[in-house]
């Protein structure tokens, strides 16, 4: 097994929790089992999140109002937290906007 290169993206204001940076190319470290998005959420919390974890994570998933996109597809269509991350995936966390 080798490291898993992916891009993590944040938008819609979610980037504010990550030093205002929208794109984060990262290499996920080697581990025994396949990397799932459920694992990634906690990895992000430990490695990228700068503040207020409650505004990102709730009940072992992302908080309500954040859409998770795997290669431009809603994660609901790919089994949400159970999706096995593939090399070069782009995984984006979009906070929904409500202003007008």
């Amino acid at each position: 097994m080798s490291e898993l290169p992916i891009t993590i993206g944040f938008g819609g204001g979610a980037e504010l929790l990550f030093d205002n940076k929208k794109n984060h190319p990262v290499s996920l470290p080697v581990k025994d089992k396949a990397w799932k998005i459920g694992d990634l959420i906690f990895w992000i919390k430990d490695n990228l999140l700068k503040e207020r974890p409650d505004l990102f994570i709730q009940d072992d998933s992302v908080r309500p109002g954040i859409l998770v996109l795997v290669n431009d597809t809603d994660w609901e269509l790919v089994d949400t937290v159970n999706y096995e991350i593939q090399p070069n995936d782009k995984i984006v966390f979009i906070s929904t906007l409500h202003g007008g």
């Binding site: 908080r63 409500h98 007008g100």
Partner: protein, 441 residues
């Protein structure tokens, strides 16, 4: 004569001149556009309409058939703000038969950079009336129905029952009203074009269309209120809701004329800072959805403010969490404050840069929460507040964050012989009661 009287007299004069102007404009209009000139070629469109809409009727997807569909359609636009203005503008220009506008707000100076149906002369008047005037002057064929009301469950449900709307456009500014519109559109079987914008980003999708998902399919649980940012707090570049609002009009026109490729089951994410549009695929309709699923639980409007834990508007709710001796009103403050005392402004840095009181120190509330820059504050306190019973005045935009800051500061600096005092009503009150030259935003 004071300024207020002068303004009132001028407003009355302008109103009467406007009436005269309208009368003359009507005469000109009647001479120029003979509405009764029946076209020999079409039963449904008159001569003027065929010429006016010719450029869009030349598109094969629209044609005469599409134009007639537009003329026969009724669109409801909820909110005549940053999204509703551009949406209604293009719908009216395109020849939608009837456009109903709902909004309970009045035109404010802070609206004009994005809410393009309103002009400087409209300040203080109902947004729906100002929008009515602009839209009617662009296309008098369109019946514009201005409704000045707050979109609550009971009134809106009755409204949707009484009018058969072809499409509803969501141009609102808060989560509670977005759920309300979603549920009512599902219950009344109307497609909902939903847009939103903040800062440099916008989002757009169509709910409840052609077996696609609804808002609740995507977001069964509302976001925590503290994660929701309004345009008044986060800011918004005028063009961004402009772009999203115009796209809302486009989706409405596609739905009305039956053009395929409606943005249902997809979300368009616009990032103005990078000039990118991302079109992402959304989940399918949820069969267990509480409102649009197989066995819906929600069959009439619920209490959306309770459901969302937030009010159905984007205005700030004022708090009152301090003891009375920890507050000072702006009048007392302006009398008591001496230059050698410490005035702490806890607004975000960008707001402080826009305007601030002289001799104030800026440490944003967010920094106080994170215990950032508190050494600077301590140094200042040691320097300026050496006397027994000294106080630090704390101010912000409206007097809410300053109260929260006082709560945290008195704990963090409990060892220092200094008292933190909140300035009630913040800079808004200061501008209103002490110095009107201080900008209100």
């Amino acid at each position: 004569m004071n300024d207020e009287t002068k303004i009132r007299i001028l407003q009355e004069e302008i109103a009467s001149l406007k009436m005269e102007l309208k009368r003359k404009e009507k005469q000109l209009h009647e001479l120029r556009f003979n509405k009764n000139l029946k076209s020999p070629c079409s039963e449904d469109l008159n001569t003027e309409e065929i010429a006016r809409y010719s450029r869009q009727m030349l598109i094969p997807d629209i044609g005469v058939r599409g134009q007639i569909s537009l003329k026969q359609s009724k669109v409801l636009v909820v909110g005549t703000g940053g999204l509703g203005c551009p949406a209604a503008l293009y719908l009216a220009a395109a020849g939608v038969g009837e456009i109903t506008l709902i909004d309970n707000d009045e035109v404010d100076l802070t609206n004009l950079h994005r809410q393009i149906l309103h002009t400087e002369l409209d300040l203080g008047i109902k947004k729906v009336l100002s929008a009515f005037d602009t839209l009617t002057s662009i296309n008098s064929n369109v019946k514009i129905v201005p409704v000045h009301m707050h979109a609550d469950g009971t009134s809106l449900q009755k409204f949707l029952e009484d009018n058969k709307f072809t499409v509803v456009i969501d141009g609102t500014d808060n989560v509670a009203t977005r759920y309300l519109l979603n549920d009512l559109c599902v219950i009344n079987d109307i497609p909902l074009v939903s847009g939103s914008a903040l800062q440099m980003e916008g989002q757009l999708t169509v709910y409840n269309f052609n077996k696609g998902p609804c808002y609740r399919c995507l977001f069964p649980v509302p976001p925590p209120p503290e994660t929701v940012t309004s345009c008044g707090d986060g800011g918004v570049l005028g063009v961004v809701p402009g772009i999203i609002g115009v796209l809302e009009a486009l989706e409405a026109i596609k739905i009305i004329t039956g053009i395929s490729g409606v943005l249902s089951g997809r979300l368009l994410i616009f990032d103005g800072s990078e000039a990118t549009f991302h079109n992402v695929k959304l989940r399918n309709k949820n069969n267990n959805c509480e409102v649009c699923g197989i066995a819906p639980i929600i069959t009439e409007p619920i209490d959306y403010e309770q459901f969302c834990g937030a009010k159905a508007h984007d205005k700030v709710e004022n708090i009152n969490i301090l003891n009375s001796d920890e507050n000072v009103d702006v009048t007392d403050f302006s009398h008591k404050f001496k230059n050698n005392q410490l005035l702490l402004d806890v607004r975000p840095e960008l707001e402080y840069q826009m305007c601030h009181l002289p001799n104030s120190l800026n440490i944003p509330f967010s920094s106080i929460q994170k215990c950032k820059d508190l050494n600077d504050l301590e140094t200042e306190i040691m320097e300026k507040c050496s006397n027994e019973g000294s106080c630090v005045y704390v101010i912000c935009r409206r007097g809410n964050d300053s109260q929260r800051a006082v709560c945290q500061l008195k704990e963090k600096f409990s060892s220092l012989p200094v008292k933190f005092i909140n300035i009630k009503g913040g800079l808004h009150a200061y501008s209103k009661l002490i110095d009107p030259s201080f900008p209100v935003y």
